[in-house]
Amino acid sequence: MSALDVARAALAAADGDAEAVAHCERSGLARFAGSEIHQPTLIENAVVTLRVVRGNRYGIATTNDVDPKGLEELARRASAAAESTPPDDSFPGLAPAARPPDVDGYDESTAALGPDDQARLAAAAIDAAGDMPVYGFFTSASCELAVASSTGLGVEQRMTDATALVLAAAEGCSGYAEHTAWKANDIDPSAVAREAVDKAVRTKGAGAVEPGVYRAVLEPYAFADLLEYFSHDSLGALGLLEKRSYLSDRIGQQVADEKITIADDPLDPRGLPKAFDFEGTPKQRVVLFERGVARGVVWDRATAARAESEASTTGHAGPVESADWGPLPYSLSVAPGEADSVEELAELVGDGIYITRLHYLGVIDPREGIVTGMTRDGTFRIRDGKIGEPLVNLRFTVSVPDLLREVFGLTRHAALVNSQNFYGERYPYGVLTPALAAARFTITGVGSTPGI
């Protein structure tokens, strides 16, 4: 059964107005540590979420038992939920039927990869690392998402994704690299491993720096992570409505450097394209920052209905398990700059810090976009415009808008950085971003040396 078949079968089991979202996953992840595969995981699943509507009340139930009896029980539980709920005057109803845009994002050869292929591609990364121990994975998946509803809506998208991720690490050194794409053939696990090993070798003999405000170059891995955390509170409509977004009361204002343009672009084939959201609404490109001016956030039907000023869905409803966050930008895309390389960004910085990757971010103050975390797997001093000696892992505490307020430059090349950690059902998404050079990155502590 396709995902749309599952969704329509669930819809048929419901009595009256309803919406069914079905997700099918076939994935393999060959995880390795110490240069051998130790946790290979194959997943096959089909999950359907049914929303039953009774006037302006609704209830939701989910199951992965998609046989007729399972769907009958699903409909019973969703109906019971709907009948236990008081009326909600702000409920906007189910999405109307709509034709989603044609997007890329599915590759037959990636979908055909099996466990032998996934293990082989993981082994390619391990072999390319030579004597340097490596930790990471190769994974590929084929997923289908479908939404069907009693409004006549019926949409389906097949998606593939693949990621090779390598941490090269030994005593006192570590380096990181990752490639993500919807075509596995666009990923070279050997090249990922070589990039990680080259970086690791350069981190030997790391020293400390004093806490303080530094100029900094952030590789795409680091910048993507910061943006992702910032986006949860600040770039979705729920954060805006609940006044925890940095953009609250700032839309239309110049809040970042003119070099900063950020959009959510689900249609870009360089990313992980998406045709519609979890309500079945066609996806739109949404400009969030335009030449440093805050332009807006992403919306779903529920938040648009509660907006004080006129708003409409932009096609950014998320899966039911992420409903706490409301609509989120799952396809962040940062406009590139003019630098040919990260070395050129280092020249623009002159004196500062070079950061490859971040670890374990935490939001301290959502309203001001303040995030803390650690650097890891490739932190270096920049001196005289050159990437210089390695540094230990550093604790930072930065306001993301403050970081973006004075930007020296961005690279021409944008990299797709995987943002999902494969919790729950697999829904591939990531951030497409160049590297960034900025004037203010606040180091607030010194941590351990790199390495295992």
Binding site: E36, Y360, R367
Partner: protein, 477 residues
């Protein structure tokens, strides 16, 4: 369930697996949440399937199937063996011996949470939500949840254990905003409340609506409070924050798979080394940490872990010295100590990993007021708000929702945006008091992430307020 597991294990061993285990899991989760007087979320999720783990020529393989049929079970077993063969390398894996166990374990639940009508759950949330109303409060939330996991594990070594684990949880949050200052306050813990292995009686006992006015008043006071100053001072943490401190800076670094590096690519490693066992000074003599999956009501309680090892209480830190790790059968064999007992999987479609069970800091003496009384100048912090720690679990920075300055042994003015930072062994070395048994509570977390693909674990920590000297507070961006 048993026949499906047996079919999977038989299929795996018939195709050459030297070891196989199969778990059938049926899980139901229900959540009701209200926000600003309306139902925000009401979900009722069921998930079922079989996960099969095999060792073939020394290599692990894991595959799963949602179909609870003979065909699904055998398919999963054969795919797991295929993946293991494809992953074969220079593997030498030894599993610590475990006695064959057969048995059944069911957690205690006086009132079945799934028998409580949904309408009653909605009503409970709406009453608590309404009671959060107050000046400057812009978001009011209440939440109740329930989960039941019924699982059976069968291994090629003859272990066959069936377990039914029921948990419930609830909480309230509100957010206040004034003049661009945004603050949150929660009860009984941050964000998603607190949970316990229990029946609905746990939720009733939390008395959400009764606590709501205090929570709202504190949120409104916070937007008017002064920011926490920067400096080095004495810090007293409430039990909730001590629980998180134990979780992040003791629980994760003592997971032996992290020590051996097998989690390096995601959650990270550990500053500990296998040779530190028995010798490393982790903290002061007031620091006693115990892993205990037998704790009544703990989210990490079970009869057997997901390798079939019986639950057992294990000291991890005794009088400040490292005396134990959290282990699997594989890592226990590798270090030559213990017999596993901390392997847990997030449902049927994930491989078991070394996870915390219930990790407690043992109580000391006295009360919170007595801890405060011995502070001339310091800060008392309550309820976690933010958390971050490095990949080796050494450098951490945590923030709390609310704080008060301590002057001459008493609470003074309220402070907002309180943070503190430190290095794990130095911080625990500065512990000079833990409050006593009467102040000791069980805190339940449901969002502990680890593994690739990612897995969320539910764990509990028993903790009491504790006092730390010479701590850096008030980190600024």
């Amino acid at each position: 369930m048993r026949d499906l597991c047996a079919a999977a294990v038989d299929a795996a061993t018939a195709t050459g697996a030297e070891y196989a285990d199969a778990r059938v899991v049926l899980k139901r989760s229900q959540l009701v949440a209200t926000k600003n007087g309306r139902v925000d979320r009401m979900t009722d999720a069921e998930s079922q399937g079989i996960g099969v783990r095999v060792l073939v020529d020394g290599a692990w393989g894991f595959a799963c199937d949602r179909r609870l049929t003979d065909e699904g079970a055998r398919d999963a077993a054969l795919r797991a063996c295929t993946f293991a063969r494809a992953a074969a390398g220079r593997h030498v894996r030894t599993l610590a011996p475990v006695e064959r166990h057969t048995g059944r374990h069911e957690s205690k639940a006086e009132q079945d949470p799934f028998a409580v009508p949904l309408a009653d759950k909605v009503d409970l949330c709406l009453r608590a939500d309404a009671a959060l109303a107050g000046p400057d409060v812009i978001v009011r939330q209440a939440m109740v949840r329930a989960q039941r996991e019924h699982k059976l594990l069968l291994s090629s070594e003859g272990t066959e254990v069936e377990q039914v684990l029921t948990e419930c949880g609830a909480g309230i949050d509100c957010a206040a905003s004034r003049d661009g200052v945004f603050q949150v306050r929660s009860y009984p813990s941050a964000a998603i409340g607190s949970s316990r292995q229990s029946g609905w009686e746990f939720v009733d006992g939390l008395r959400l609506a009764d606590e709501a006015p205090r929570v709202a008043e504190q949120a409104a006071a916070l937007v008017r409070a002064d920011p926490c100053p920067s400096g080095i001072t004495t810090v007293v943490l409430d039990g909730d924050q001590v629980a998180l401190q134990v979780h992040e800076s003791v629980g994760h670094p003592t997971e032996l798979d992290r020590v051996y590096g097998t989690e390096a690519s995601y959650a990270g490693t550990s500053f500990l080394r296998p040779g530190d066992l028995g010798s490393l000074r982790y903290g002061s003599e007031h620091m006693n940490i115990t892993a205990d999956p037998t704790t009544s009501g703990g989210l990490g309680s079970f009869g057997f872990d997901d390798e079939g090892v019986p639950a057992q209480r294990t000291p991890v830190v005794e009088a400040g010295r490292l005396t134990g790790f959290l282990t699997s059968r594989e890592t226990a064999a590798r270090i030559g100590a213990g017999g596993g007992g901390s392997m847990r999987a997030d449902g049927w479609n994930r491989m078991p990993l070394v996870r915390m069970t219930n990790l407690h800091i043992e109580p000391g003496e006295g009360t919170l007021d007595e801890l405060l009384a011995d502070v001339d100048d310091g800060i008392y912090m309550e309820t976690n708000r933010s958390w971050s720690i490095d990949d080796k679990r050494l450098n951490f920075q945590f923030g709390t929702q609310i704080a008060w300055e301590i002057k001459n042994g008493e609470r003074g003015r309220m402070l907002r945006d309180a943070t503190y930072t430190g290095i794990t062994p130095e911080f625990w070395g500065s512990l000079d008091a833990v409050a006593g048994r009467d102040s000791w509570r069980l805190y339940g977390l449901t969002n502990c992430g680890k593994g690739q693909p990612g897995q969320s674990a539910h764990v509990s920590h028993g903790a009491a307020p504790a006092r730390f000297r010479n701590v850096q507070v008030g980190v600024k961006a």
